[in-house]
Amino acid sequence: MPTQLLEGIRVIDFTWAFVGPQTTKTLADCGAEVIKIESATRPGFWRTTGPFKDNEPGLDSSIPFAMFNTNKLSATLNLTYPKALEIVKKLIATADIVIDNFAGGTMDRMGLGYEVLKKTKPDIIMLSACMHGQTGPYATHPGFGNQLTALCGFSHISGWPDREPVDLGAYTDLVAPQFNVLAIGAALDYRRRTGKGQFLDMAEYESGLHFMGPILLDYIANQRVANRMGNLCPYAAPHNMYPCRGNEEWCAIVVSTDEQWKNLCDVMGNPSWTSDIRFTTLTARKENEEELDRLLGEWTINHSPDEVMSKLQAAGVPAGARRTGIDIQLNKEPQLVDRQYFSELDHEVIGTHKVRRPPYILSKVPFDMRPAPLIGEHSEYVFKDILGMSDEELEELVIEGVIE
């Protein structure tokens, strides 16, 4: 019996930045053998991007690199050498999946396009992920997730109606990897049944727009252009983040039924304003929402977010303490701790650090988390054990600079 979900699957990984490495991280965490092809003379984005261990930049000391590349292997090749291209093609002939996320057309220009790889390995599954996809007028346009988040329309609907749109950061970078994993999973099953590989041309733009479905249909059917609305929701009030005791502490509270409203009032000790006709029905609360939020905030400010959350949840009122990214990364979120979302790994250079598993727990196969590779850590395994090179050949290629 295999001990890992994707046991026996080999992935050749040309990815960089965020979306590609997050896609291959899922595959690696699920037990595929993911081999990163790296260059020591032109190291990738996260190898050179901090924060670094002890603030000392170094190819093996980037903390984000270690977080994004768990369970992967690393082999180094300088792909500007024709010999390196031949070697990587031999490696691909032993593989199941090839993944890149360069701007459209890059793999073709490198001589590693799907048509070429298909000759090397007829049933190869190749996934190319970029901003706009491999076709269309913008295919070759470079960009980052931050910009695509704006292009997809997320920025326009985020923030406050009376202010400029919000720059959300690279939100679509969080969306695209899961679409990539879905496409690969489906293609693996299709290959198992039909023997056929295929080319999966993924555009972050299109993945992102699937998260905008209702808003796009609202424009198509009703010609309505969705706008910013802060934290409000058309069918609930209260529906906002409320200030709590402490420094920048907040709690979400959402009330959409009469029962929840009654329970919220009970928990607050039924202050007199709650029986004011301006707040007793949902319609009235929607009409007087600003005042409602102000009065509710006067109660929440006297309690910690966890107090507000646990008291309200115990009474059946949806509430959630606001966690920051830092709270989560420092593993201070009790629910995530209980489910062991993060585990501690020991990395040769970085030492003890926290990494996350995929966001699901499977009943039969536990995840086996291992630290990210040092640069070139598995070159010997890849070139000797997989490709059968002799020590002499390997040494010669290192001297020539083909293997770095």
């Binding site: 994707l6 706009h132 346009h141 939100y171 796009l216 249909l217 059917a221 979120e333 009943s363």
Partner: protein
């Protein structure tokens, strides 16, 4: 023929999991949406077609239920449970998003269903997963978002923290993880013949953005219109030194990221660090071609570092850029960005998106027929272009109980009389 055509999916989810079944359906699977008699509550979510609040006209429902057939079934009745178990015998996946414990209470939890069908993959999508101290907490999108660490202040220090508005992004991210877990379990089943239970947590799906990335984002999030007044917390302070590959973003300098243009906004970040020249010069060249580069023309990108640059310097850089954007429309800027390979994009509205030449060029939009309304609507189409088996919408979302007869009578062999009885008993 889609990639997943041989498979059947029983979809019991509410808005937390609907996207999961939609994508399996677009990939060719036979997805049966199992609704409570009268129809699921997610049909009451707006917006609505022509603003008519009718359970058959929810655009939210339409968006996330394409390529599914639909039946009604009350799984809280013994007859309903027996029917569901018969269907499980024919299925490969069951998707559900009930509160943890509900499936066990109705006698339809994984250990029971596994006995009926050992190859079954059951995917649960819940706010916090099936275990842990918050498992029973109720979590509309905003609550899940708060606990998942995505709700942030984006420098609007005089307002509450916020995130993406309208329908819940939190639930969609959870659905995506659920469908990914389902695919991983499907591969394992291909090797072993065994199904399993995939316990997906929406909170974990949100928490997957590592804070290192967040921190880079946060440092860069200073939006010019609302300068930061608060003092940064100790653990929130970016490294004072060190150069980040793409650019180092250091407070207290304010860096504009959203810029007004003639008919809206565009997004642009000036990059620092080793890639500054490569990523910034295309835009400078474009400004220069119109004689508007001004100070940017003489700016020294090689020594530009957010850690050392002064606010005065940033203001001088921003001046020509602001003036330039104000004279151009979003559409112009996008066109020229392409020409000059400049990394600037419009802040699009849904109207802009529909006009995208790129999406039209890729054939992204798909026309979907709604025969009951005698109309055809444009939908977001393929989520990727696949060379062997495309992912296409095969039909619009089902009407309430639209396929009851097809599935109960034709497939399962219930007679018209039995159907009448089941209907009267509130089973279907």
């Amino acid at each position: 023929e889609g990639m997943l055509s041989p498979y059947r999916v029983l979809d019991l989810t509410d808005e937390k999991g609907l996207l999961c079944g939609k994508l399996l359906g677009d990939l060719g699977a036979d997805v049966i949406k199992v609704e409570r008699p009268g129809g699921d509550l997610a049909r009451t979510l707006g917006p609505f077609y022509h603003d008519e609040p009718d359970p058959e006209k929810s655009l939210f429902w339409w968006a996330f239920n394409t390529s599914k057939r639909g039946i009604t079934l009350n799984i809280e009745t013994t007859d309903g449970q027996e029917i569901f178990k018969r269907l499980v015998g024919t299925a490969d996946f069951v998707l559900e998003s009930f509160p943890p414990g509900y499936m066990e209470k109705t006698g339809l939890d994984y250990p029971v269903l596994e006995k009926i069908n050992p190859g079954l993959i059951m995917v649960s999508i819940t706010p916090f997963g099936q275990t842990g101290p918050y498992k029973d907490y109720e979590a509309p999108g905003l609550v899940a978002g708060a606990l998942g660490g995505v709700v942030d202040q984006f420098e609007d220090v005089d307002r509450p923290p916020t995130w993406i508005g309208h329908h819940s992004q939190e639930y969609l991210l959870g659905s995506m993880e659920g469908v990914g877990g389902a695919m991983m379990a499907l591969f394992y089943r291909g090797t072993t013949g065994e199904g399993q239970h995939v316990d997906t947590s929406i909170q974990e799906a949100l928490a997957r953005a590592p804070s290192a990335q967040r921190r880079v984002e946060r440092m860069a999030l200073a939006n010019f219109s609302t300068p930061s007044k608060k003092k940064k917390k100790e653990n929130d302070t970016p490294e004072k030194k060190g150069r980040i590959g793409g650019g180092t973003f250091v407070q207290p300098t304010r860096i504009r990221r959203i810029w007004p243009c003639k008919d809206g906004y565009v997004v642009l970040l000036w990059w620092a660090g080793i890639n500054a020249k490569r990523w910034n010069m295309p835009l400078v060249n474009w400004l220069d071609s119109e004689g508007k580069a001004g100070y940017l023309k003489e700016f020294d990108w090689d020594t530009f570092d957010w850690a050392t640059v002064s606010q005065t310097e940033i203001d001088r850089m921003e001046e020509p850029t602001i003036d330039f954007f104000k004279t151009h429309t979003k559409a112009d800027i996008l066109k020229s960005a392409l020409k000059y390979k400049a990394m600037v994009y419009p802040v699009s509205t849904s109207e802009d998106t529909l006009q995208s030449e790129q999406l039209a060029g890729r054939g992204f939009w798909q026309e979907v027929r709604h025969p009951e309304l005698d109309t055809t609507l444009t939908y977001p189409g393929e989520f990727g272009i696949f060379s062997e088996a495309p992912a296409r919408i095969s039909r619009r979302a089902p009407l309430v109980g639209e396929h009851n007869r097809e599935i109960y009578e034709t497939e399962l062999g219930y007679t018209r009389e039995q159907m009448l009885l089941l209907k009267q008993d509130g089973v279907v």
